[in-house]
Symmetry: C2
């Protein structure tokens, strides 16, 4: 968290949203929003990360991620989760892992506020790129990113190996 | 680099490849291979990262990335470049950013040796996922990853904002 100020949107007073750096106290609400987003992305069973994981990894000297929490009258209604990455082409980059707004608060400009907060950090850090992924059927998100000047490229496929897949490499003797 | 041993393949003696942790001395050869891969991926102008970037970011107390260098009789003929990432669904993950073999050394098993070296680290660290991206027209790479049990998902599109795109966020006043 250090070195970056709490972000409070200009729009805060008008529409009563408050965007602030996520803290340990926000972790339960963060995980609830992550689970909502996974369900929206048609993978409700995919979330295996726990509150303990986020508490262990997101705070202290070398946090592995940061997040903004958006609240409306105290209630958590959105979040943006991000961390530094590294590109062999561009050097240090900023990766936006998740951006989520609960359904009742969509269309309010809140997604833009959260995206602005993250893009501002990317701009100020002068990273070589800010990047994220979006599902190809999520038309509303795609329009949102296009409106923000993003380049969207369907050419890159995501490859993954899950822990069960990785088991066989545990026994490979180098 | 600390905490992880130099990886030397069992196949080393037979086919005379040597896979070792990348060092500062390997950075010029690393960048040459990165540029070759970018050209193969039809974006030869995309590489703006410099040797100075890699020397600054890849070594010391908190390296932002690690890499394996494959050599044949001393000549750099391949590399694998990776770093930790973080998934809201899976917790800590390992991201394989680049895996490249020069054309003359393809079909030798060297790609498998490099992939094994990285997957072994992922397995030993017990990450929630190992992931990477592959271009949807790179059929040889896709077959390779499928052979390794990977899940390949074309549904996720890559979104990016480049430094020129990010300029406007520099002047947004929070």
């Amino acid at each position: 968290m250090k070195g970056l100020p709490t972000f409070v949107s200009m729009k805060e007073k008008r529409i009563n949203y408050r965007i602030e750096r996520g803290t340990r106290d926000d972790v339960p609400a963060l995980l609830a929003l992550i689970r909502e987003l996974a369900a929206f992305e048609r993978q409700p069973e995919a979330v295996t990360a726990t509150e303990a994981d986020f508490l262990r990894d997101g705070f202290g000297e070398n946090p592995k991620f940061e997040f903004f929490m958006a609240r409306c009258d105290g209630e958590a209604v959105g979040m943006a989760f991000f961390y530094p990455r590294y590109s062999t082409w561009k050097g240090p980059t900023l990766h936006l892992e998740d951006l989520y707004i609960v359904p009742e608060h969509r269309g309010t400009g809140l997604a833009q506020m959260l995206f602005d907060a993250v893009a501002q950090i990317a701009a100020q850090k002068e990273v070589g790129r800010m990047e994220w992924t979006v599902l190809d059927w999520n038309e509303r998100a795609i329009r949102f990113y296009e409106k923000n000047g993003a380049h969207l490229d369907p050419e890159w496929m995501l490859g993954t190996l899950h822990p069960d897949d990785l088991e066989k490499w545990k026994s490979i003797d180098p």
